[in-house]
C-alpha cells in the first residue's frame, strides 16, 4: 500500500506530496519552488516535512554499489534502509558502527541527523563512520564530499537536516562482529544517582548502554529505572525473532493515557527479568520495530518527542528538574530513555550528540498543556547549557534551537537555495528580515 507522507509523530499535520527518484544518475528534479529530500519519515516532527509540501522521495535509491567483506567498506545509495544493510552484512560478519533505535531509517536520514545509538560512548555518531558521499545540488552540480575534499559541505551535510542538497550515495565503514547475538545484562536501579554510577562503570566495559526511566516515580524513587548493557557475542541464542506485527489502523481514541501510562511504568519497572541473557540484535537494539506502525497507538492527534542533551556537570540537577516537572504534570512518558554520551564531538556543524546526558521522552499530544510542558522542559535544558534534538522536535522555539546549535548560520550559508523544511523555516523565521 502506498502510504501518505507524514512525520513519525503524526504531528504537525502538513499535506505533502512526493516526487520519487528511482536512479542515482537522475537529475535533481526540476520543480518550481522549494523542496525537501525525504528518507523513510522516521523523524518525529517537522524536520522531514517540506515547508511547501513537495518532497523528493529518495527511498527508491536503495541499491548497493559495492561491499568488500575483507575490509567492511560499503557503498550504497542513500535511500537504502539500515535494515537492508544489516540483512546483507551480518551474515558476513559486519555490523553498523552506529545505529539508532530503529533500523527502518535510510542512510541519507542517518547522515542528515547524524544519528546516535546506545554506543555513543564508544563510537560517536553516524557521521564518524561516513567515508564520503555524493551530493546533488539543485543547480545540477554533483559533488563528491569527503572530509578532505569538501571542507565546507562535508561537515555541513552531516547533521545538516537535508538542507545542503540531496545525498545520492554514501560510503560507510562497518565494524566486525562474530555473530548476530548480543550478551545483555539488565540491572534495576533505584534512583538517578545509581544511574550515573552504573553508566560510568558500564561504559568502560560495554559497547551498548542505555536506561529506561520510570518518569512517573517521585520523591526518593525519582529517576528509578532499568539499565541495560550489552556486548556483541560469539555465541548464538537459537532461533531468530519472528517478522514484525503491524498496527493496522489508527484507533480513534489513544489507548495511551494517564492510567495506562502509570500501569505500564509500574509494571515495566517491576517486571522480573533474567539478569543476563543472549538476545538477537534485532530484539535488543530494535524492540519497537517488532510492532510496525506503533506510532498509530497514540491516536489521530499524534504525539511529541522531546530529546535533550545536557553537560555532565549539570546533568544530575537538570534531569531531576525535568523528571520532577513531568511527574508534576502527571503527563508521563512510556519510553523515557536516558543515556550518557561520550566525549567524541560530532563531525557535523549541527551534530546533536555532545558530551553529557541525553534524555528522550514522548508525550501524547493533548493540546496546549502538552506544549506548555515541553516549553518548560526546554527552559530547564537551556538553563543547563544543553540542546534539544531537531530530529525529534516539532515545536521548540527558534531561540531554543539557535542556542543549542550556535553554528546554524553556517548551515544557512551552505543551504541549497531550493531546499527548505518546515522545521528550518520555523526555527529561523524570526531571524529573517521582513520584506
Amino acid at each position: 500500500m502506498a502510504e501518505p507522507y507524514t512525520s513519525w509523530g503524526l504531528y504537525p499535520k502538513l499535506p505533502q506530496r512526493g516526487v520519487t527518484l528511482s536512479w542515482r544518475n537522475q537529475a535533481f528534479p526540476a520543480i518550481a519552488g522549494e523542496v525537501l529530500p525525504r528518507g523513510n519519515g522516521r523523524s518525529y516532527g517537522d524536520s522531514c516535512l517540506a515547508e511547501n509540501g513537495t518532497l523528493i522521495d529518495a527511498r527508491g535509491l536503495d541499491r548497493f554499489i559495492s561491499f568488500d567483506p575483507t575490509t567492511g567498506r560499503l557503498a550504497c545509495e542513500a535511500g537504502m534502509l539500515l535494515a537492508d544493510i544489516l540483512d546483507v552484512s551480518v551474515p558476513r560478519g559486519w555490523f553498523l558502527p552506529v545505529t539508532p533505535g530503529t533500523r527502518l531509517i535510510t542512510v541519507g536520514g542517518a547522515i542528515a541527523n547524524d544519528v546516535h545509538g546506545k554506543n555513543h560512548h564508544r563510537r560517536g555518531s553516524f557521521g564518524h563512520h561516513v567515508l564520503g558521499f555524493e551530493l546533488a545540488r539543485s543547480d545540477g552540480r554533483r559533488i563528491r564530499c569527503t572530509q578532505d575534499e569538501e571542507a565546507e559541505l562535508f561537515p555541513a551535510t552531516i547533521g545538516g537536516l537535508g538542507l545542503t542538497g540531496l545525498i545520492v550515495s554514501a560510503e560507510l565503514q562497518l565494524v566486525p562482529i562474530e555473530g548476530a547475538w548480543l550478551d545483555v545484562e539488565t540491572i534495576r536501579f533505584e534512583d538517578l544517582g545509581s544511574f550515573f554510577a552504573l553508566s560510568t562503570e558500564s561504559d568502560a566495559t560495554h559497547e551498548y548502554t542505555v536506561a529506561w526511566i520510570d518518569c512517573l516515580a517521585q520523591g526518593s524513587a525519582l529517576g528509578r529505572g532499568v539499565f541495560t548493557r550489552a556486548n556483541h557475542a560469539r555465541a548464538s541464542g537459537g532461533r531468530e525473532p519472528r517478522a514484525p506485527r503491524r498496527i493496522p489502523l489508527t484507533p480513534p481514541i489513544s489507548p495511551v493515557n494517564g492510567w495506562t501510562l502509570r500501569a505500564f511504568n509500574e509494571l515495566y519497572y517491576r517486571l522480573p527479568r533474567a539478569p543476563r541473557s543472549l538476545q538477537h540484535y534485532r530484539t535488543h537494539l530494535y524492540p519497537l520495530d517488532a510492532l510496525r506502525d506503533w506510532n498509530r497507538l497514540y491516536g489521530p492527534r499524534g504525539f511529541l518527542q522531546h530529546q535533550c542533551v545536557v553537560p555532565a556537570t549539570s546533568a544530575p540537577e537538570a534531569m531531576r528538574a525535568i523528571l520532577g516537572a513531568i511527574a508534576e504534570a502527571g503527563d508521563g512518558s512510556m519510553l523515557a530513555v536516558l543515556k550518557m554520551f561520550g566525549d567524541m564531538p560530532g563531525r557535523g556543524l549541527l551534530s546533536f550528540p555532545r558530551p553529557g546526558a541525553s534524555l528522550a521522552l514522548d508525550f501524547p499530544f493533548r493540546g496546549p498543556s502538552t506544549l506548555a510542558l515541553l516549553d518548560r522542559l526546554d527552559r530547564i535544558v537551556m538553563g543547563a547549557g544543553g540542546a534539544v534534538y531537531p530530529a525529534k522536535d516539532a515545536r521548540m522555539s527558534g531561540e531554543t534551537f539557535r542556542r543549542g546549535f550556535p553554528d546554524w548560520q553556517k548551515l544557512e550559508a551552505t543551504r541549497d537555495p531550493k531546499i527548505m523544511s518546515a522545521f528550518w523555516r520555523r526555527v529561523t523565521a524570526d531571524t529573517r528580515k521582513e520584506s
Binding site: 500500500m1 502506498a2 502510504e3 501518505p4 520519487t20 528511482s22 536512479w23 542515482r24 544518475n25 541499491r63 548497493f64 554499489i65 559495492s66 561491499f67 546483507v88
Partner: protein, 246 residues
C-alpha cells in the same frame, strides 16, 4: 542454484525479484535497454549474494538479437533454467486512440517482443525437457476496458499465448507461469495518484513471483485478491459492461 535470465531487468518488479534470487545465491543474467541502469542493478544484486551476474544491453524489440541474448546467457551461466520476462510500457490510451503508430509500437513492446523471445526459449526448454518460463502479464489483459484497452489487448495476447504454450510444454515438464499483478507502485504508475489497499509494493509482487515459481504454479494473481476482483469483472455481462466506466 538457478540460472536465471531476466529481460526488462531494470523494471522495479524485476529488480525486487532479482534481489530474491540473489539472496538465494542464484546465477543471474540481466538484460534491458539501458546499459547505465543495468550496471546499477548488477552492482546491487552482486552485493546481495548472486553467484554471478551477467549483463546484456538489448531493446526487447530488437528481435534479431534474441538468439544472441539466449546464447550469451547460457554461456555466462553455464546453462539456463529460468527465464523471467518483465519489460513493458503502460500505454497512453488517449494517445494510442489518436495515433495508429503509437498503438502499434506499444503492442510491439508489450506483446510481440515477448512472444518472439518466448518462441525461442520454448524450443530450447522443450528440447531439454526442463525449465521455468515466467512472464509478467497483467490483470488488464483479463478484460478490455475503455481506459486502457491497447495495453490490455497486448497483455491479453501474452496471457493467451502463454496458456497455449503451457498446454504444449506440459508434456515436456516445462513450467509456464503467467503473472498477473494488479496495481503496483512502480515508475510505470508514477503518474497515477496512489493510496488505499489495492496498491501493492514491488517487493510484495516479487515474493509472490518467487513463491509461484517454487510451487510450480501456472497462473498467479498478485496480490491474491485480484483473482476474485477479476472473476467478478469477467462475469459482468457485456451488455452492461459496455456502459460502465472502469
Amino acid at each position: 542454484m538457478r540460472k536465471v535470465l531476466i529481460l526488462g531487468a531494470t523494471s522495479a518488479i524485476a529488480q525486487a525479484t532479482a534481489r530474491l534470487f540473489a539472496a538465494k545465491g542464484d546465477h543471474l543474467f540481466i538484460a534491458g535497454r539501458s546499459a547505465d541502469r543495468l550496471e546499477m542493478v548488477r552492482q546491487d544484486i552482486a552485493v546481495r549474494g548472486a553467484a554471478s551476474v551477467g549483463v546484456f544491453a538489448i531493446d526487447a524489440n530488437d528481435r534479431a538479437r534474441h538468439e544472441a541474448l539466449l546464447d550469451a546467457a547460457e554461456r555466462a551461466m553455464g546453462g539456463l533454467d529460468t527465464v523471467l520476462i518483465a519489460h513493458g510500457v503502460l500505454s497512453d490510451q488517449k494517445a494510442c486512440e489518436g495515433s495508429v503508430e503509437r498503438a502499434l509500437v506499444d503492442i510491439e513492446t508489450n506483446a510481440l517482443g515477448v512472444i518472439a523471445l518466448l518462441t525461442l526459449v520454448a524450443n530450447r526448454f522443450e528440447a531439454r525437457r526442463s525449465g521455468t518460463i515466467a512472464v509478467i502479464s497483467s490483470v488488464a489483459g483479463d478484460r478490455g476496458r475503455k481506459s486502457n484497452y491497447v495495453y490490455g489487448a497486448a497483455k491479453g495476447m501474452v496471457t493467451l499465448f502463454l496458456q497455449g504454450l503451457r498446454n504444449r510444454l506440459a508434456a515436456a515438464e516445462v513450467q509456464v507461469l503467467t503473472i498477473k499483478p494488479g496495481f503496483v507502485d512502480t515508475p510505470m504508475t508514477a503518474a497515477i495518484p496512489k493510496g488505499g489497499p489495492l496498491w501493492a509494493k514491488p517487493e510484495d509482487i516479487a515474493t509472490g513471483i518467487l513463491a509461484a515459481i517454487e510451487k510450480k504454479r501456472d497462473v498467479v494473481y498478485l496480490p491474491w485478491f485480484w483473482q476474485w476482483i477479476m472473476l467478478i469483472i469477467r462475469m459482468i455481462p457485456e451488455r452492461i459492461f459496455k456502459r460502465l466506466s472502469l
